[in-house]
Symmetry: C2
Subunit: 435 residues, 2 copies
């Protein structure tokens, strides 16, 4: 560690004063005495940077030096820590972090995209200089999951970590289930309520969850961050009827990030899942996030909390600041960057498990026999078949579930089924996870 | 900190080789390389102590020096950390820990009784010497709740912490609910299965949960450990019929530890509670533990995991050892012992909330009127009243719930009711908590 573990105040510079940045300043202001007790020193904001200076953020910025340029802020003299809350994997966020490390400042960031894309390189850079990168806020908001995994479960070999990593998707799925409304309808509402962005793609297409999963995987397994190997599917194709069928079959639908050590290597995937209603994660609704880790000694540990928002994210950022103020250090991903062990990614085709499939088919004799034959030809064993209601000659939804099978076989069966003339829409598939 | 943060191995002495002690040695042996990666150094067991030397514990003790006397072990030269896994608030456990601190060794312990009774004094002693006391294993087994609260939520003012802190009680209550069997019957089974001790009183009378709660309270609120102020009730009086009524009323029955800042001071209580079925804690069944913390910025965070057992407890002990090996230090209860702020305990009589009351009354006209009058005389407002089945002239159970009221008023009403001739058994009351 550098010289940060001393008795003077910890001097920080904050780049980015959006919701989270303002929250961090409010927290530091409101809990100054508490934080001093817990750190043994004060935390002092000496410089800030944001796009618009005039905006009222409800915090006193008069004692901090203002920078229009975050990269210039990273070079502000006498700063111990640069807090990067700009966001984005490239551009000013990356430049700010890199310059901060070059100048010998610790970094605290909420930027999952940055770490998903450049985490390993940044960790190596930081560790070579004896600096910390705190990123508790980058995954699952206020839940202390990075600390929990990296330190709390440090005695365990972790075999699996999975969770609800995107509050926007979980909110949408929860609303769809409880109101019976359609995806587009609920999304529009979520946008009005501020739970979804104007351009919601990052969230609903699973990219945000995939960024977080790639980081979690690295912390859990001690491997370099490998975002490009994450299989990503979002929730656009989850339909209102899927919730009815899921309910009838005893499941809930969740967008999960799952990382698992398998015989084929490390599996990383984000996609909608059906999980048994009794699984603890099935009960985590609305904007809440949850992470479950499976360690060889501790068994399963579940963490639940708010995955976003001003207060929870500020709480995580400040926890990292307090660690730095106290001189508590840990290698970025739990083991030193140079010791992260490259691991083979397991291809999605190797996934084993069961499947839920929804088809729109013309309601006439022989159609199901065709579907069943396509499954049989790929050695996929059907477990259940459901057709609710009849409409001879018209398109009706039919649903089936399979026994455990391989993704590759399932995909081949689905391709054959999609080609059938009586199958009038692309088949929709949701993987079933038996936690 | 003392000289423990160096590059040689961390040398530890383990006092007590029961289930947990053996688990710790197994973990250290099996994950030696992993731990070295995470600590930057090895952890070496240089001395051990237990009552019987001959016993096969499934671990290699050949390289560790044997002590019959744990107190002598604490004085073994060249030890960095003494791991105390003997148990008990007095006697050898206390002497071992005290001598270890006097000799400049860090302490790691799973001993909740010791910390509940002597935590503040031991913390002061440790901190004066620049030593750590790690006690993650003392509360909620494998769940990293001490780290989560003390570091992960360090930026928050915590207003409440509550949880399922005793796996034995939770197992018994879960079995009673799912099988409809009686307390005594389920307890006998739990004893056979090893989930309950031959003398189960410590668990089922709530003392163990109260020890853990007193520690959690101190960490959450930065107050000296105040075990004597914990109001403690166990689960002996929870009856099979209570589960039927709870179910009908929309509740689950859990033994909870609850610590809350109120206008009257700090409330600490352990007793059976009815919690709404939809509350996340209601779904935590069997031997699992759960802790929920409410922070002003992070809002609610829930932690769930195994509260006892060889693996989970060893996981927690080793996490503390890794912290010490890495030189990560935190004041014992989050803020330095000298700065723990004395807080007024809130008397149990000041508890506000609603109540479930079960009475055995003679089934004849006027009895309910008497009960209702006793409640009215204390300004206790009844919400529901349930009498299932009739047996004129004989004793029948009747159940009622109240609106929010004060414990003191409720107790007076219950005392009056108990005195009625037609009330043939002591009234049983379970507090309702609306989380």
């Amino acid at each position: 560690m550098s010289d940060s573990h001393k008795t003077g105040p910890l001097k920080i510079a904050v780049a980015g004063l959006g919701t989270v940045g303002a929250g961090v300043l409010k927290l530091l202001e409101r809990q100054a005495d508490l934080i001093e007790q817990r750190c043994g020193r004060r935390i002092e904001v000496v410089a800030v940077s944001a796009r618009s200076r005039g905006k009222d953020r409800g915090v006193d910025l008069s004692t901090a030096e203002w920078y229009d340029d975050p990269v210039a802020l990273a070079a502000h003299p006498g700063v111990d820590v640069v807090v990067e809350l700009i966001g984005g994997s490239e551009g000013p966020a990356k430049e700010t972090v890199e310059l901060a490390l070059e100048r010998g400042r610790h970094v605290v960031t909420a930027n999952k995209a940055l770490l998903a894309h450049h985490g390993t390189a940044l960790a190596a850079k930081a560790e070579a200089a004896g600096l910390a990168i705190g990123f508790e806020a980058a995954v699952a908001g206020g839940i202390p999951i990075i600390k929990g995994l990296r330190e709390g479960l440090a005695g365990n070999r972790v075999s699996e970590v999975h969770g609800i990593l995107n509050g926007t998707c979980n909110y949408i799925l929860t609303e769809m289930r409880t109101t019976g409304r359609d995806f587009a309808d609920v999304l529009a509402d979520a946008q009005k309520l501020g739970y979804a962005e104007a351009d919601p793609s990052f969230d609903i297409d699973g990219v945000d969850a995939a960024h977080k999963l790639a980081i979690l995987t690295s912390v859990a397994f001690g491997t370099p961050v490998d975002f490009k190997s994450v299989h990503v599917e979002g929730i656009r194709h989850v339909s209102a009827v899927d919730f009815d069928y899921a309910d009838a079959l005893g499941y809930r639908i969740k967008l999960l990030g799952i990382a698992r050590r398998t015989d084929h290597g490390i599996e990383q995937r984000v996609h909608p899942c059906m999980v048994p209603k009794a699984a603890p994660i099935a009960a985590v609704d609305g904007v809440f996030n949850a992470v479950i880790a499976q360690g060889d000694f501790v068994d399963r540990v579940l963490f639940v909390g708010r995955g976003a928002g001003e207060g929870p994210t500020a709480s995580a950022v400040v926890a990292d600041l307090i660690d730095i103020a106290r001189g508590r250090s840990t290698p970025t991903f739990g083991v030193p960057a140079a010791q992260l062990s490259e691991a083979q990614p397991s291809p999605m085709e190797a996934r084993r498990g069961s499947y839920y499939v929804r088809l729109m088919v013309v309601d006439r004799p022989g159609v199901i026999a065709d579907v069943a034959a396509a499954m049989r030809d790929q050695n996929v064993s059907m477990e259940q078949f459901l057709q609710r209601g009849r409409a001879p000659g018209e398109a009706v939804p039919v649903v089936l579930t399979t026994h455990d099978t391989e993704e590759a076989a399932m995909q081949r069966a689905l391709a054959t089924i999609a080609d059938k003339e009586s199958v009038v829409e692309p088949p929709r598939m949701i993987r079933i996870e038996q936690f």
